[in-house]
Amino acid sequence: MTGRTIVLASEVPFPPSVEDFYLPSIVPWGGHDYWFTKITLLLWITVAMLIIFFLVAYRKPKLVPTKRQWLAESIYGFVRNNIAVDMIGKEGVRFAPYLTTLFCFIFVMNLWGIVPMAQISPNSHIAFPIILALISWVMFIYLGFKRHGIGYIKFALVPPAPWFILPILVPIEFFSNFIVRPFSLAIRLFANMFAGHMLLLVFTLGGFAMINANALLTPISILSWLMTIALTFLDFAVIALQAYVFTVLTASYIQGSLAESH
């Protein structure tokens, strides 16, 4: 589907490059560079899936839950109890809806990386992780100012330490709290999805490259494709973990802003 991977017998471009992430337009009008790519389509499907799933699952809640209701409730219950309340405390219930949305959205967006025929995650374009990270960033700063007033600046930047060490500590705290946090949130999600897609490409295309170079290398090509299957399972673990980690870190930043003391 990526345009290059379906070219079987002819020359397979190897190694894969960043260019493989810039997919062509998939609509018949508007030419090759039109904005509606597979990435756009997957994003829309993700949003529609989540909205419809939760609307349907929660439309007529029953005392004895149906399968769908059970699934929706256990996802929400997991984020609420194991992330929101565990990380933030009692106040965390307030943030559970946002964190659940975030978790589901990232999880489904990442999952496209291993779904056959889709096989690229929209999150492997850094634009999506950046927006998600910016939301978390604005959110914890806003909450900090709301809780501590203007004193949040002192709260966030001045740790309890002897005065002579403060000239070093304050810039470090500023750098780590307000610059590195959103940056690392975005990069982590992006780079994981990027590297996951790249790994699958290397082993798939590498198999074709070897089989084209020399027929004697066929067993190694097959080994390479078996590795692709194994790596797909590894990728699933990474996908679930990254959705969890992004949500947990957002919760922990919120907790840091709401805390009464260091």
């Binding site: 960043v18 992330i83 990069i187 780079a191 947990v248």
Partner: protein, 77 residues
């Protein structure tokens, strides 16, 4: 005089290999500490688990920065 030996292609692969050493050790330490604490006090496993993943994520990002910057700075120098 023709060079006796040369390296062609990108040295970014070597650089990334070097850059991955630190995070590799770091992730190992994180999980080692978690396994040790859980072995000593199994009932604390659930309490420390979020911190395990936070620690893992914070260390892991260093290796991932290596991937990202490898592409950002590719072709320069």
């Amino acid at each position: 005089m023709a060079p006796l030996a040369e390296v062609v292609g990108s040295t970014a692969a070597i650089g990334y290999g070097l850059a991955a050493i630190g995070p590799g050790i770091g992730v190992g330490l994180v999980f080692a500490a978690y396994i040790q604490s859980t072995a000593r006090q199994p009932e604390s496993a659930r309490i420390t688990q979020p911190f395990l993943w936070i620690g893992f994520a914070v260390v892991e990002v260093l290796a991932l920065l290596g991937i990202a910057f490898g592409f950002i700075w590719a072709g320069e120098l």
